[in-house]
């Protein structure tokens, strides 16, 4: 059986959803900062206490080379997407597609490198406070960084699927492309700051 339903379809302009995403990404970034501040707090707290002098077990120093690779991948991905965002006009230009594709692929590579690093680590998770914070910080960062890669990928995929000559009508996806890319940028900048924090604390501080 069917029913006729009179609904009021108020044709919201895309700027409403764009403002939603903009404020939403700022809140998401602040929540993510509080999440990783807990790991930074754990690092400094355990380092200060150094209970049974086992915060840094001898030999439990993560190799800096791997850290640099992950850092570079993350920063390259963020820079790539920033460059792509600047090229973005109506979501159809080839430089935008190429740069955003490169951005999320390099981003994905960062996660892959991070997990392979665990495989080649020469110390286990039980090797003192620093090893625990190392595993915690990097693993949670990799998972949240996957969220950023997902966001970049959806924008890239949207422009690929959309025909080149789409006119920009009110509901056309390209009308939302630029605001969503700007909001994604905010989240990417936050994640890059967190990655720099992680790199400095886990690899450089002795």
């Amino acid at each position: 059986m069917s029913t006729t339903e009179t609904t009021i379809a108020d044709p919201e302009g895309p700027e409403v959803l764009a403002s939603n995403i903009a404020v939403g990404s700022r809140l998401l970034s602040s929540a993510v900062v509080f999440l990783f501040m807990s790991f930074v707090f754990a690092f400094f707290y355990l380092r200060a206490l150094n209970t049974s002098h086992l915060f840094r077990e001898p030999g439990a120093n993560p190799p800096t080379a791997w850290g640099v690779v992950v850092l570079v991948c993350v920063l390259a991905s963020v820079a790539g997407f920033e460059f792509a965002r600047r090229q973005l006009s109506d979501g159809t230009g080839t430089p935008w597609r190429a740069a955003s594709a490169a951005a999320w692929v390099i981003g994905l590579a960062a996660v892959v490198v991070q997990f392979t690093q665990y495989y080649y680590l020469h110390f286990g998770a039980t090797a003192g406070g620093l090893a625990s914070v190392f595993f915690g910080f990097t693993a949670v960062f990799a998972v949240f960084w996957l969220g950023a890669v997902y966001w970049m990928e959806t924008l890239w995929a949207q422009s690929v699927r959309q025909p080149k000559t789409a006119a920009g009508d009110v509901h056309s996806p390209s009308a939302l492309m630029r605001p969503s890319a700007d909001s994604c940028m905010i989240f990417l900048y936050t994640m890059s700051v967190v990655e720099i924090f992680a790199f400095v604390l886990l690899y450089l501080v002795k």
């Binding site: 029913t3 339903e5 929540a31």
Partner: protein
């Protein structure tokens, strides 16, 4: 009047074919979600077993302990199965494939939409209310079992281990459900109506938070299948590391609630910031919406810290990291710091919605405008800001540097100043008022009576020398029951009696409501006031055997607690009687309130407003007959005729 920018709504006649019952069954709904959750658990549990066995062989540590990897992975599988079964993964997958962003799922009709992903904020709110009350009654049942055990001064009825699981489940489930207990149901339903919007900012995320809360409740119930957990809701560190598998259920369910809390808070904040109707300036926002805003700020910032702390315990248990193992470089105090950095904003996530509801109800039944609107909002923001600066008062005795004591004593006592502003507002609103003693008003007045005891006992706990006696004792338990149950649950009941006629169109029976109120108020005080004395006389929290001298006091408290439980059954009876059997129409504005949500028909149609209204004043124009109506809704859109474009 910026009428030009207000787009004229278009009336769309859409005939949607309601699929047959079988069609509904096969679609994405909660039944499929349960099936897929169980399948997901079994599959990933198997994978976890292989990984666990491998890591055991590698590290050579004990055999029986390694099932944590399997259980945690199994629970991840259950979460994925649950979300997939409900259809939450369809949208992200379509986005990955490049389809454009859409706001609404296919709108369905009929009762089935309550059992699946639905993006109408009113449906999600009612689902939330039913889920929260369902788990609230189970946790209340736990409380009754706890009190039966405490009638004897030596653990006889239940095994000591089972008693600890009982206490842990009561505490965790109550706090999990009550932290989203007002943000979810009343917040999701009323905020769009109060600010003049047709939707919440992210409708899918809103529905996701509801279904995650339901799943978290059932995972916590599953802790008994895994052997229970001994740590109570605080989950202190080395005990959590060495507990049996039941603690994994606690960790995963609390993590889910952390995620759901952060998302519901973010969703609320974005809605209020971006979707206000024209004319709804910040100083015209109803006080209930301010309460939701301040609670959401706390939820968005505090829940991630909980998530990080819980992830640390999960890693400690599964891959043997040593965050909280003192002998290997970790420190149990790290958990206390992280947990209470989340813990104290959490208890204000519980208190602020109570203030919000009560300050919204008072003007309606005192027939006077809210006395000090700005002071009330300032008070709420003061509480929200200060709640991040007080957490070490839980560690006064834990061996923190005693230089910190004066600071945390001062900030803890300072937080009573913004709370005092809420009391000032209540007193100002009641000054020369014309009070009508309806059931919501009774609950609002009782809120202030109870919260007063909660606040004053808080002063005892904040003063370090007095805290030496009262820390970790029943005095603390009486304090937080007075603030959470005396405060939040009384406000929630008041809110339910006040807004349910708008949400469902049916009035709750007034006589049954009064019986419920007086029974709950009297027996609540008879149950928890003597516990202040029990605490000071040396009865620690979470014990099943106490000093024989406290036996008569505990028997009295237990009998009062059973009557309190009975009063809750009266509420349940009233709900079922008024909503299912009597179904007495309540009309659009039974309480003659001037709030924007009461100017709409009840139950509210799917699209909330025919035309987005232009707001003229704040909703508290009582006592000034010449005040303009709260909003202009413009000419009615005659059904079937396209609106003037």
């Amino acid at each position: 009047m910026e009428s030009a920018s207000v787009r004229q709504p278009q009336v769309v006649k859409s005939s949607t074919r309601i699929p047959s019952a079988w069609g509904q069954l096969l679609g994405y709904n909660v039944i499929w979600a349960t099936v897929l959750a169980i399948v997901g658990y079994i599959v990933l549990h198997k994978i976890g077993d292989t990984i666990g066995a491998h890591s055991v062989a590698e590290t050579g540590s004990g055999g029986s302990d390694q099932d944590d990897i399997a259980i945690l992975m199994g629970m991840v599988g259950a979460i994925l199965g649950w979300i997939g079964g409900l259809g939450f993964l369809n949208y992200p997958v379509s986005r990955i494939l490049g389809r454009p962003a859409t706001l609404r799922e296919r709108e369905e009709h009929g009762a089935w939409r309550y059992f699946r992903l639905c993006t109408d904020h009113k449906v999600v709110a009612i689902q939330y209310l039913v889920a929260v009350l369902f788990f609230f009654f189970i946790a209340g049942l736990n409380a009754m079992f706890i009190r039966t055990e405490l009638t004897s001064d030596n653990a006889t009825l239940f095994g000591a281990g089972n008693y600890l699981t009982l206490v842990g489940l009561h505490g965790t489930m109550m706090l999990m459900m009550m932290s989203a207990g007002i943000l979810g149901p009343l917040g999701n339903y009323l905020v769009p109506l109060m600010i003049g919007s047709r939707r919440m900012a992210f409708p899918r995320i809103e529905s996701l938070t509801m279904w995650l809360t339901v799943l978290a409740g059932f995972i916590l119930l599953a802790a008994t299948l895994l052997g229970g957990f001994p740590t109570g809701w605080t989950g202190y560190a080395p005990l959590a590391d060495e507990a049996r598998a039941g603690i994994d259920a606690y960790l995963v369910s609390f993590a889910l609630i952390g995620v759901a809390l952060a998302l519901v808070g973010a969703n609320m904040l974005v809605t209020v910031i971006t979707l206000r109707a024209p004319g709804m300036h910040w100083n015209r926002l109803p006080i209930f919406v301010w309460g939701m805003v301040t609670t959401s700020i706390l939820a968005v910032l505090a829940a991630p810290v909980l998530l990080a702390a819980l992830i640390m315990v999960m890693m400690d248990r599964s891959i043997d990291t040593t965050f909280f193992v003192a002998a290997q470089g970790g420190s149990p105090l790290l958990w206390e710091e992280l947990f209470w950095f989340f813990g104290h904003p959490e208890v204000y996530i519980l208190a602020l919605p109570g203030f919000a509801i009560v300050l919204e109800i008072l003007p309606v039944f005192a027939r006077k405008p809210l006395w000090g609107y700005r002071v009330a909002v300032a008070g709420m923001f003061g509480v929200a800001l200060m709640s991040f600066m007080v957490w070490q008062h839980h560690l006064f005795m834990s061996g923190i540097n005693s230089n910190l004591r004066p600071f945390y004593m001062f900030t803890t006592e300072l937080i009573s100043v913004p709370t005092g502003m809420v009391f000032l507002n209540a007193m100002g609103t009641l000054w020369k008022a014309k009070i009508r003693f309806t059931v919501p008003m009774l609950f609002a007045l009782a809120f202030f009576f109870n919260f007063l005891f909660g606040g004053l006992s808080g002063v005892f706990l904040s003063d370090v020398p007095s805290d030496v006696l009262t820390h970790g004792s029943y005095f603390v338990m009486a304090h937080f029951h007075y603030t959470i149950m005396g405060g939040l649950v009384f406000a929630l009941m008041g809110g339910i009696y006040y807004w349910l006629p708008k949400m469902t169109g049916f009035k709750l029976n007034e006589k049954l409501g009064k019986i419920h109120f007086w029974a709950m108020f009297i027996f609540f005080n008879l149950t928890f006031f003597p516990l202040f004395a029990a605490g000071m006389l040396g009865m620690p929290r979470r014990v099943s055997n106490y000093n024989a001298s406290l036996h008569t006091l505990n028997v009295f408290v237990s009998s009062a607690a059973f009557c309190l439980g009975a009063s809750m059954l009266v509420f349940l009876g009233n709900l079922v009687w008024s909503m299912v059997f009597k179904r007495e129409r309540a009309g659009d504005n039974p309480w003659h309130s001037k709030g924007l949500e009461w100017q709409l028909p009840s139950p509210v149609p799917v699209y909330n407003f025919e035309r987005i209204p232009v707001i003229n004043t704040d909703p508290y124009q009582y006592g000034s007959p010449d005040a303009p109506p709260v909003a202009d809704f413009g000419p009615r859109v005659v059904a079937g005729q396209a609106g003037a474009t």
